[in-house]
Amino acid sequence: MSRNHGSSTRRLLEAARYHGFGIAAALLFLAPLVWSVLVSFKPSIEARQPPLPPWPVGGFSVQSYENLAQYGSGIWTYAGNSLAVSAATVAASVLVSLLAGYGFSRFQFPLKNVLFVLIISTVMIPFQSILTPLFLILTKLGLQNTLTGIVLVYVTLQLPFSTFMMRNAFDAVPREIEDAARVDGASVFAVLYRIMLPLVLPGVATVAIFAFLASWNEFLAALILLTDQKKYTLPVLMAAVRSGQFGTIDWGAVQSGVTLMMAPCLALFLLLQRYYIRGLTAGAVK
């Protein structure tokens, strides 16, 4: 009996240690996010003070959001730009990588491996280093200072990851499934669309989320390539807010902007977490 008792105590102790560590670590990871969100609801004057305690002492206030809304052409212009850019990047990334992934996974063609490695290896190229030529090319195409131009750049930047991801997703689908459909006389596109697409949806979700996160958050390319203030995306606007208005930084407005930028990322992740992690791990195993 005593032995049994000892082991259950030990198990209890072990569980306490496990969860003690887990909760402490989770709090550390979540604290900065929570802190920022809470401070964004302080009145401006209070937000200028150190956030101790983090919650608004004098009642919740949306003053910081109102201040933020007044920057430049109004916050909704920028949020709209960011949303349009992200949505277009997601749609185009999914489409292009779906095709490319299928092509690389299921077809034989000359230089296949070379081309695949070519696409993947661009991940090692600092895109910052080709920003200048990119700028010149977009200018030649008449796409400099347009959201379309920046979408094309973002899709390209995501390509190594999304192509890799989609090829792996297709690789994981047994060929027999496809062959069976093929025997039934379905066309290549029909097979891809009707049979394969549902099977690689987790991969698509991963590609979509990564494309969204990357384009929603990207800063440097947007800073250089968008020159017209009305076309700024949120990160570029936020850099301007951070650089102060009338020689003072409105930290409340900065944190409300940070909250605004974080919210869709967090919401999307929490909603699609399962697909996201599954897709990510499927990519990592390969």
């Binding site: 949505a87 277009a88 749609a91 489409l95 347009t146 379309t148 009338f246 020689g247």
Partner: protein
């Protein structure tokens, strides 16, 4: 075909994005964020009374040059720009700017326009830029804190020793109130506010027509020691060490700082946005007295090849009218047209008069590599000052900066 639908969706999204790029009929104009206090009002007054319409965009000061240069290279530059006058030579040289010589000469009061502006706006005998707004560095003091510290709230300091003494007394008020503030990690700010200390004491920084850096001067050492002293005694807030010019106003505008050297544009800014702050304006003094100022501000430039000279003339005539000059002055820019300057600031208080006087004696170091040396956030001037003010090795910092500046100057030819 869902796939096709996705494709169609992507295509329409892209198409929608590109149509939003359709050109505006209005003329566009950019101005940097330090002109936020007066440009919007001026443009509004112009639009209200003219058929020509101008749409103003405020660009963060630190990004202005990069944005304008990239936009010009990309063909999407605004029609007009209010450009920091120190950059006019570089842009004129590159062919970005419309030749405004004829326009300038046709103005009957051309002779009375600010010489510092016309000077930097002239390249190889042609005029590419005309004065837009003017700004001179001055010293601000907080009258409320002066009163609390037992100092005469109506008399600003006239030498370094007086500044130090006043800062000390204000610092003694305790709490988070500090005596003196400057943005310690901002090259441009300190060109504006620190150089006059040296000039007023008889020294200079760029000599031989801007070809040679002369960092290691007794005046420089004195001025640095003056600031070091202020820092060492704790009169300067901790945050000054890393302020890259983003928050240079934060302390002064909230009654937390006693004295601060700053641009005259701050006057309009304070009056408009922080009406509760009681402040005085005086000249930036030299070590034993004397006074000096950095003559800054913006030039008005027109992007070349757009046939906008007529509209530019219409706008400039408004700017140089008594109405325009008064609007500028009220918002904190100094008048740019000498013959009516006195009239333009007449209704305004003593503080604007002081700034106008400072502008008259203002100096502007001129160099095609001004940005690389003084304004750049990775440049030698900013690094040197930060090391010298807050570090241990003043001589080393100066020597390093001297070499680095000279090599930038040499490679510019």
């Amino acid at each position: 075909m869902r796939l096709l639908r996705i494709a169609a969706l992507a295509a329409t999204a892209l198409a929608a994005l590109s149509t939003s790029a359709l050109a505006q009929q209005k003329l566009t104009m950019w101005s940097r964020s330090s002109s936020e206090a007066f440009m919007p009002g001026l443009i509004k007054a112009f639009n209200d009374t003219h058929k020509t319409q101008i749409e103003l965009q405020i660009v963060p000061s630190s990004e202005m040059v990069q944005k304008y240069a990239t936009a010009a290279a990309g063909g999407s530059a605004p029609d007009f720009v209010s450009l920091d006058l120190v950059y006019a030579p570089a842009f004129a040289k590159s062919g970005t700017l419309e030749d405004l010589t004829d326009l300038a000469k046709s103005l009957p009061y051309f002779e009375h326009l600010s010489k510092a502006h016309i000077g930097t706006g002239t390249y190889e005998g042609r005029i590419y830029a005309l004065p837009m707004s003017a700004d001179a560095s001055v010293l601000l003091w907080n009258k409320k804190l002066f009163r609390q510290a037992g100092l005469d709230p109506d008399k600003g300091p006239t030498s370094w020793a007086e500044i130090e003494a006043a800062a000390g007394k204000i610092n003694a008020l305790g709490g988070d109130i500090r005596g003196f503030y400057f943005a310690g990690a901002c090259g441009g700010c300190n060109a504006f506010t620190f150089m006059p200390l040296i000039w007023a004491s008889g020294g200079d920084i760029l000599v031989d027509g801007g070809k040679r850096a002369a960092i290691d001067s007794p005046q420089m050492h004195d001025a640095i020691n003056f600031y070091r002293e202020l820092v060492a005694k704790g009169y300067v807030p901790e945050s000054a060490k890393t302020d890259s010019g983003k928050n240079f106003f934060g302390g002064f505008a909230t009654d937390k700082v006693g004295l601060s050297p700053i641009g005259a544009f701050a006057i309009g800014n304070l009056v408009k946005n922080y009406p509760d702050v009681e402040f005085g304006v005086t000249f930036i003094p030299g070590k034993e007295g004397g006074r000096a100022s950095f003559a800054g501000g913006d030039n008005f430039v027109v992007t070349a090849g757009r046939d906008n000279v007529k509209a530019a003339k219409e706008f400039l005539e408004f700017v140089y009218s008594i109405e325009g000059q008064t609007l500028l002055a009220k918002g904190g820019s100094l008048p740019t047209r000498g013959d009516i300057a006195a009239e333009a600031v007449k209704g305004l208080d003593q503080r604007y008069q002081i700034a106008t006087e400072a502008m008259k004696m203002g100096r502007t170091p001129s160099s095609p590599v001004y940005n690389d040396i003084f304004n750049s956030s990775t440049g030698p001037w900013k690094q040197m000052l930060n090391e010298a003010f807050f570090g241990d090795d003043v001589d080393g910092a100066l020597a390093k900066a001297q070499a680095s500046m000279q090599s930038i100057l040499d490679s510019s030819d």
